[in-house]
Amino acid sequence: MYEQKVPLVRLAKRDGMPGWQAWCIRLASILVALILGGLVMMIALPDGSNPVAAYGTIITGALGTKTAIRQTVKIAVPLLGCALAIAPCFKMRFWNIGAEGQITAGAIAASYFALYWVGRVPSVLLIVIMGLAGAIAGGLWALIPAFFKAKWNTNETLFTLMMNYIIIGVVRWLQGGPWEGRPGSQIIPNFDQSVWLPKVLGVHCGWIIVLVLVVVMHIYMNHTKQGYEIAVIGDSVNTARYAGMNVGRIMMRTMFISGAISGLVGFIVAAGANNTLYDGVANGVGFTSITVAWLSQLNAFAMVAISLMLAVLSKGADTLQTKLQVPASISDIITGILLFCMLGCEFFINYRLIFRKQGHKEGAKS
C-alpha cells in the first residue's frame, strides 16, 4: 500500500559532492551538448559534411586567424563586462534583468558627448568624460528600480525588465528625431574618429578595461566590507537587518554600481565597436551575460573563460553559416543546446535522483 505511492523518481538534495565529481558532471554535460548539437547539424548540414568537421569549422572560424581572434574578443568584451556588472546584484538575490537598458542608457550618455563635444575638449579627456557619463547614466537608470524596491518593495524583475523597453524607445526616438543624420534615414551618423576607442593589438581597448574590472570586482566582492554586506543580504535579508545593515541603502548602492558598470559597457560598445548609436546597441548582451554570470557561479575569473567560450561559439557559428550556408538559426540552436545542458547539469550537481526499487522498501540505501 505504502510502496504504491512512491513515485518512480524522487529528488533528494545532495551536499558535499567532491569538486572533481562536480566538474566531471559539467564536462559530461558539455559532451552531451556536443553530441546533441552534432545530431542537429547532421540534419541541417549539406550532404557530405560531418558534424566533427563542422565543429572544426567553428573552432578555426573563431580562433583560426588573427582577424578571427580579434572578432571573437570583440564579442566577448561586452559579455564579460556585463556579467561582472550583474554579479553583485545576483549575489544579493536582486534579480536585475535590466542590464540591457543600463547598457543602452550608458551608450546614450556617451554618444551625446561624442556627437556634440568634439573639438570643445581634448579627445583623450573627451573619451574619459564619455566613459564617466556612460557609467553615471547607467547607474542612475539602475537606481530607479532599486529605489522603488527599497522604498516600496516593488518587484525588481518586472521593473528592471520594463525599464529596458523605455530606454530602447528613447534611442529610437533619438535615431529618427534630434540626432538623425540624413533626413529620413533613421541613422545617427558615425562619431568623429577622434573619439573612437583606440585599438590595442587590433581590438578596441575595451578589453583592457573589462580585464581590469575583473580584478577590481573580484576584490570588491570578496575582500571588502561592502562585498560582505552584499553576500549577507543574499543569504538572508533578516540576518542583515539583525546585524544592523541598512538593506535599502545597500541595495541602491549595489544597483548603482551594477548599472554603472553596465553603462560603462554601453560606452565601450558605442565608442569602441559601433562608433555610433542605434537601438540594438545592447544586442541581447544584457540577457546573455546573465547566463555567463550563472555559469561562472558569480566568480569573476570564471567569467572570463565563459564569456570567451560563448564568443567562440558565436563567432564560429557565424563562420559556419558563411562556409556551409546553413541557416543562421542553426548556430542559435547549438548555442541554446549547450547553454541548456550546462545550466541543466547544475541541477544534477545539487540534487540526486532516486529511482523506485521494485520489491524493496524505498529509500533503503543509496
Binding site: 541541417a44 582577424t67 572578432q71 533626413p183 529620413g184 533613421q186 556551409l324 543562421a328
Partner: protein, 426 residues
C-alpha cells in the same frame, strides 16, 4: 501494442530525418550558385572559350529571399547574373549573409566575407554603407559595393562603389498605368474627378521615397489631370502590419488606389479587401491581389551584377557610382494585369517608355509641377559638407530636375503641390 507503436514512431522519425537531410542539401546547393564541379561540365559541352573563370562574390542582405520584396528582388538579380555570366564562361560562387541589420553586425559580416576569400562584396541596404566603410580600407584588393548609398564618389577609397537604378522612371510608368485606371473610373462615372485620390504607403520621408512617389504622381497626373495624392509614412522599411494599417487608413480617407514604397505585400492585399486598386514595387503583386494590383516596377540588379563581376574577373576597374535606367534594362515593369487595367494601358506604356528611353520625356519636367504655386527653378543635388543639406551642383536645367544625374542615390526631396504628406515626422 505499445512496442508496435514505439517501432512505428521510431521508423517515422528516421524517415523524417532522411527527408529533412535530403531537403536541406538540395537547398544549399541551389544557394551557392555554381559549384566548382560545374567546370568539368562546361568542358563536356565543348565551350570554345577554353577554361572557365571562377569568382567568389559575397553579399550582405538586410533580409532574406522570403521577404518577397527587397532582398527577394536582389536574389532574382543574383540568379539572372549567374545565368548571364555562365554563358560568358564565368562561374560565380555566391556567399550570402542574410538578415544583417544596419548595425555593427554588418561590419562583422563584411569582415567574415572578406576573410572567406570573396573578391567582391555587395551590401544591399542603404544603412550598411557606414559599416562597410570601416572594413573596406583593410582589404584594398577587394571591391566593396554599397547599393543605394552615396559616399563612394566623395571618399578617397578606390575600392568602394555605389549603385542604384533610375527607379523613378519605372515609378512614372506605374503611375501612368494607375492614372489611366483612375481616368477610366471617372469616365465611367464611378467616381467624380475630384475623388481621384491616390494613397501612398511610404517608409520614411527619405529622398529615395520622396523621389519615388513624386515621379509616380507625375506619371498618374500626365494621364489623369484631376488626380491628387496622400502619403502616409509608416516609419519602417518593412513592417507588414503597419503597412496594412496605413493602406487601410488611406482607403478610409477616400483613396481609391494604393501604391507603396515599403517591402511587404500587405498594402496590396489591404487595397483588395477595401475594394481599391494598387500598384506595387520590387515584386509582381498581382499574385496576392489579383483584383487590385495593376502593375509593379522593380530594379533588375542582374544588369549591374553581371557588369561588375565581369570587370572584377577580367581585372578591370569599374564605376564608383553607377546608375542606369529603363534604357539599359536596369529598371523593368512587372507584367500588366490586363484583366483590371484600363483599356489601352499596354499601348500607352509602350509609348511613354519609348519616350523616356529616347530622352524625349523627362520625368521631372519642371513645367509639369509647381512648388508652392510656382515653377521650380533652383535645387541643388549634392551635399559636399556633410550636413545632409544639398549645397552643390544645380539639378534644374534644360527645363527639368535631373534626378540621379550627379550621383546614383536619389536627391529629389521637394514637396510639390498636389501631394499631401500626412505625417512627415517619420
Amino acid at each position: 501494442m505499445k512496442k508496435v507503436l514505439a517501432l512505428l514512431l521510431a521508423l517515422s522519425m528516421a524517415l523524417a530525418l532522411v527527408a529533412c537531410g535530403g531537403n536541406s542539401g538540395g537547398n544549399s546547393s541551389s544557394n551557392s550558385g555554381g559549384q566548382t564541379n560545374n567546370g568539368g561540365q562546361t568542358d563536356d559541352g565543348g565551350s570554345s572559350e577554353g577554361e572557365t573563370k571562377h569568382i567568389k562574390v559575397g553579399m550582405v542582405c538586410i533580409g532574406d529571399e522570403n521577404d518577397q520584396g527587397y532582398t527577394y528582388n536582389f536574389m532574382r538579380g543574383v540568379e539572372g547574373a549567374t545565368e548571364d555570366l555562365k554563358a560568358k564562361g564565368i562561374e560565380v560562387e555566391w556567399v550570402f549573409k542574410y538578415n544583417i541589420l544596419e548595425n555593427s553586425g554588418c561590419e562583422d559580416a563584411n569582415i567574415e566575407l572578406a576573410e572567406d576569400g570573396c573578391q567582391l562584396i555587395i551590401d544591399n541596404s542603404f544603412g550598411h554603407e557606414e559599416f562597410m566603410l570601416k572594413v573596406a580600407p583593410d582589404y584594398p584588393d577587394i571591391q566593396f559595393v554599397a547599393c543605394t548609398n552615396q559616399a563612394s564618389w566623395g571618399d578617397d577609397l578606390p575600392n568602394t562603389h555605389n549603385a542604384f537604378a533610375n527607379i523613378y522612371e519605372g515609378r512614372y510608368l506605374a503611375g501612368v498605368a494607375a492614372g489611366m485606371k483612375l481616368q477610366q473610373m471617372i469616365d465611367d462615372g464611378e467616381i467624380t474627378a475630384d475623388q481621384a485620390v491616390i494613397g501612398y504607403v511610404g517608409a520614411y520621408s527619405f529622398a529615395e521615397v520622396i523621389s519615388g512617389f513624386t515621379s509616380y504622381f507625375l506619371g498618374a497626373r500626365s494621364v489623369c489631370p484631376s488626380v491628387t495624392m496622400k502619403v502616409q509614412f509608416v516609419g519602417s522599411w518593412s513592417d507588414a502590419t503597419e503597412e496594412a494599417n496605413a493602406a487601410s487608413a488611406l482607403c478610409d480617407m477616400g483613396c481609391v488606389l494604393i501604391s507603396q514604397h515599403s517591402d511587404n505585400t500587405t498594402p496590396a492585399t489591404t487595397a483588395q479587401s477595401k475594394g481599391a486598386f494598387h500598384t506595387g514595387y520590387n515584386n509582381d503583386m498581382t499574385g496576392v491581389a489579383p483584383e487590385a494590383s495593376i502593375i509593379g516596377t522593380r530594379i533588375d540588379w542582374s544588369v549591374y551584377f553581371t557588369h561588375i563581376i565581369e570587370c572584377v574577373v577580367n581585372g578591370e576597374e569599374f564605376e564608383q557610382d553607377w546608375c542606369k535606367g529603363l534604357a539599359d534594362g536596369a529598371v523593368v515593369l512587372t507584367p500588366l494585369n490586363e484583366a483590371i487595367a484600363a483599356p489601352g494601358t499596354a499601348e500607352k506604356l509602350e509609348e511613354v517608355e519609348a519616350a523616356i528611353k529616347s530622352g524625349e520625356l523627362n520625368v521631372f519636367d519642371t513645367s509639369t509641377f509647381t512648388v508652392d504655386g510656382a515653377e521650380l527653378t533652383q535645387a541643388f543635388a549634392l551635399d559636399t559638407d556633410g550636413d545632409y543639406a544639398a549645397d552643390s551642383e544645380e539639378a534644374v536645367f534644360d527645363g527639368a530636375f535631373h534626378e540621379s544625374y550627379f550621383q546614383s542615390a536619389p536627391y529629389f526631396t521637394i514637396e510639390i503641390d498636389g501631394i499631401e504628406w500626412l505625417n512627415s515626422e517619420y
